[in-house]
Structures are given as C-alpha cells and as structure tokens.
C-alpha cells in the first residue's frame, strides 16, 4: 500500500507540478512586499494610512469612486484614525447633493460625517465618457478584488502563511509597472503598457510619479513610497476591521488551545479504563 501512496504522490506531483512550471515566466508576477498588516499580529500603520489617504484623495479620487467609504470611517480606530474634527473638516470641503427640499429641488450642501465619499462622476456612462471609454473601477474593496495568480505549491503554502496581501501587492506592482512597451508590441491608441496588468494594455495612464504628492512628515516623496502607502490605504478601505479581527483571533486561539488541552485530558481520564 505504501507503494500505491508513493506512486499516487508522484502522479499528483506531475499533474500539479508540470503545468505550474510551464506557466512560469509567462508574466511578471507582482513581487510580495512586506506589509505592516501581514501575519497574525499585523496591524495597520496609522501614519501610512494617513499618507495613503492623501495620495488617494489628491490623485486616485479624481477619477475613481469609493462608494462604501464614508467620511465617518476616516476617524475610525484601526484606520487612518483622524480626529473627528479633522474628518468633519475633510467632509465639509466637499459639496454633496441632497434633497429634495420643501420646494422639491435638489440642493448642494457641505459634506457630513454620515455621507459617503463623493464619486467624481454622477454615473458610470459619465465616467466612461470622461475616461476614453474605460470605467475606472470603484476602489472601496479593490484590495480584495485583485490578486495575482498563484500556482500549485503556492496556493497550499499560502493557507499556512496566511498570505492575504495579493491585492495590495498587485496594486503596488501595477502603480510601479508602467514601462516602455517591449519591442514588437504595439500599444493600442488610448492604452498604456503596464508590466503587471493582465494583457499589459491598461486604459489608466501612469497616475503617480516622484514628488507629485507633498509629504510633510519626512517620508520620501517617491513613486514607490506613494504606491506602498496608497495600497495600504486601499487595504484598510477594503478591510477596515483587520486589526480587530487579528486581535480577537489571537484571543480565540489562546482560548481554544486551552480548552482543547483540558478536553484532551478529560477525554483520556474518561476512557482510562476502557480498552479501545
């Protein structure tokens, strides 16, 4: 029987392994960066989220919506954690359409904490028209809606290493992936070449460059740093309770290990006099 298992294992390895190797070198896979929120004890870096918010607000938000993000979220613990006054100030800088009022008319008023992040375009067709026919995707959960393809051994080891950062790695890589198209590749009109975009031809022009957004805390104002910060911010936007989740998870683990230990000894005691 051992032989069968060995044979089977070999067959499985062939089945899984061969195509995985063959697929390699096809595309440039996003590099796995190190993130403060990775791993069982990972937490968001508040300063990084605040910087990322600045990049998001000054650059991304001019084309992309983030409909599930509310101004009140900006003051949330385990997030950018601005003071409530700061979040209110941000909100009041935007004009929100409200109404209808008593005269039956829609009107503009300054944003409140309970408003969601205002979309740059009134609807999808308007967004398309303004962006050469391509719809800029909503960024609220984009960090969970993107991942890079993981081959055979990777998808198993990822379960053990708790790798959940495929989306942020992809965003970081994408923002850094604008390069000259290799020879022989014709980039279609209105599209741009990106090393990491599936198909390599992306409608979004290179959005970030060195020095574009002003950082006041001494962090280097580089493309790499911007993309790292904004990716972290988008991860928070997609998963605002990550800090809480990991904290509770640790408590649950300690508790369950203690309980299973106790149950193990209880079980041994109960079965002590029974041959089984």
């Amino acid at each position: 029987m051992k032989k069968t298992i060995l044979l089977g294992a070999a067959a499985l390895a062939l089945l899984f392994g061969a195509p995985a190797f063959a697929a390699e070198g096809h595309d440039d896979l996003p590099h796995r960066e190190s993130w403060s929120f990775a791993g069982p004890f990972g937490t968001y870096d508040t300063a990084q989220l605040q910087r990322g918010f600045k990049v998001f607000r000054e650059v991304c938000a001019s084309c992309h919506s983030a409909n599930y993000l509310y101004f009140r979220n900006l003051a949330q613990e385990g997030g950018p954690h601005f003071t409530e006054a700061q979040a209110k100030a941000v909100a009041s800088e935007y004009q929100i359409t409200d109404g209808p009022n008593d005269q039956g008319e829609m009107f503009q008023r300054p944003g409140r904490l309970s408003d969601h992040w205002p979309a740059p375009f009134p609807n999808d067709p308007a967004a398309r028209v303004a962006n050469g026919g391509a719809l800029p995707p909503d960024l609220s959960v984009i960090a969970k809606a993107r991942a890079s393809h993981v081959g055979f051994p990777g998808f198993i080891t990822d379960a053990f290493t708790q790798y959940q950062e495929g989306g942020v790695d992809y965003i970081h890589a994408l923002l850094n992936g604008y390069v000259e198209a290799p020879e022989g590749v014709t980039v279609q009109a209105g599209l741009n070449y990106n090393k990491y975009f599936p198909g390599h031809q992306i409608a979004m022009p290179k959005p970030l460059s060195d020095g574009q957004v002003e950082y006041t805390d001494g962090t280097p104002a580089t493309l790499d740093q911007y993309s790292r910060d904004v990716a972290a911010f988008l991860m928070w936007a997609a998963e605002p309770y990550l800090d809480t989740r990991k904290r509770i998870g640790f408590q649950v683990f300690v508790f369950l290990i203690v309980l299973s230990g106790l149950l193990y000894f209880t079980k041994k005691k109960v079965w002590k006099n029974v041959a089984h």
């Binding site: 904490l113 508790f255 369950l256 106790l262 005691k269």
Partner: protein
C-alpha cells in the same frame, strides 16, 4: 487505599469542573457577537443628529421633521399659545411639568417634541383637540400647546428630544 481513592476523585472532579467552566466561558463569548449585532449599526448611529433650519416656519405653524426615524414636531408658538400653556395649574396635569422647562430659555416660542403619543406610539395630529395642541386619533389622547397630556389614556407628556440652538434660526437635534 481509601485515602488514595479520595484524592483521585477530587483531582478528576477538578478537571471536569475546569473543563466545564472554560467551555461555558467559551459559549458565552461566542454568543456575544450574535447579540451585539442586534444593536443600531454604525450607519444608523452616524445619522443620529439632524440639523433643522427654523427660518421658514411661520408663527403658529407646526412642521414635522425626522430624527432617528421618529417624527419631531417643531411648533412656532404664537404668544397666546405660550400664555395658555403657562396659565395652566400644575395640579390639573396628569404629568405635571412647567412649560418653561420644556423649551430653551430665550427661545420660548419654539416647542420641539417627539411626535409620538406616549400611550402606544401613534403620531398625534396637530392643531386639533380642545387644548390647541395635538389630538391622537388612535385612542383620543389630547395634548396642549406645550405638548403636555391633558386628556386620555396617555400617561406622559410628549417627550422633548435633546437639542441645542446653533444660532437663532438653526437647531441640532440629537
């Protein structure tokens, strides 16, 4: 021999009790999130204040606005309404309360009350009944121009929500 038996029993009992107790704590801990999810969520809490512009409300007019999903009556009272409310003897009221305590000082013409009958939660009708206030169509309770119950099964006056004047013509409820 007997002595050994006793110690063994005690140790075993301790293990059982410890396991049971830890298990019970776990069950209680697991129940909590499922109970906590019932409370008002963050989007509801975010809407827990309402700003109202009083300038369009004419003297003698009652408007209805919403706060936390409940109707709020805002009554711009004429001087005769205030006088009537203040002339009543407290002993005649089922739920004695001074009109002065139900309005903000310096803004005595503005009455702000939760528009829910304190009997069983219907919405009373304005400018009806015998007391120039509200009349509840469900069971006939009547309220005066200070929102105090005068007749009927309702036990309490219309509640005054927490609110503050931001300026002479703007209030924030909640």
């Amino acid at each position: 021999m007997a002595h050994t038996e006793t110690t063994q029993t005690t140790r075993r009992d301790f293990l059982y009790i410890a396991t049971g107790a830890v298990g019970a704590v776990g069950v209680a801990g697991m129940i909590w999130p499922f109970v906590a999810q019932l409370q008002p969520d963050a989007s509801v809490l975010a809407l827990s204040t309402t700003e109202v512009d009083l300038s369009p409300i004419q003297e003698g007019q009652i408007i209805t606005t919403q706060w936390r999903g409940k109707p709020i009556f805002i009554f711009n009272r004429a001087p005769k309404d205030i006088e009537a409310a203040r002339a009543v003897q407290l002993s005649q009221l089922p739920d004695p309360q001074l009109d002065q305590d139900r309005v903000k000082k310096g803004h005595d013409n503005w009455l702000v009350v939760v528009g829910i009958c304190t009997h069983l939660g219907c919405v009373p009708l304005g400018h009806q009944g015998n007391y120039d206030g509200w009349f509840c169509p469900c069971h006939g309770s009547q309220y005066d121009s200070s929102g105090r119950v005068r007749v009927g099964p309702a036990p309490l006056n219309l509640a005054v929500p927490p609110y503050a004047f931001n300026s002479d013509t703007k209030i924030t409820i909640g």
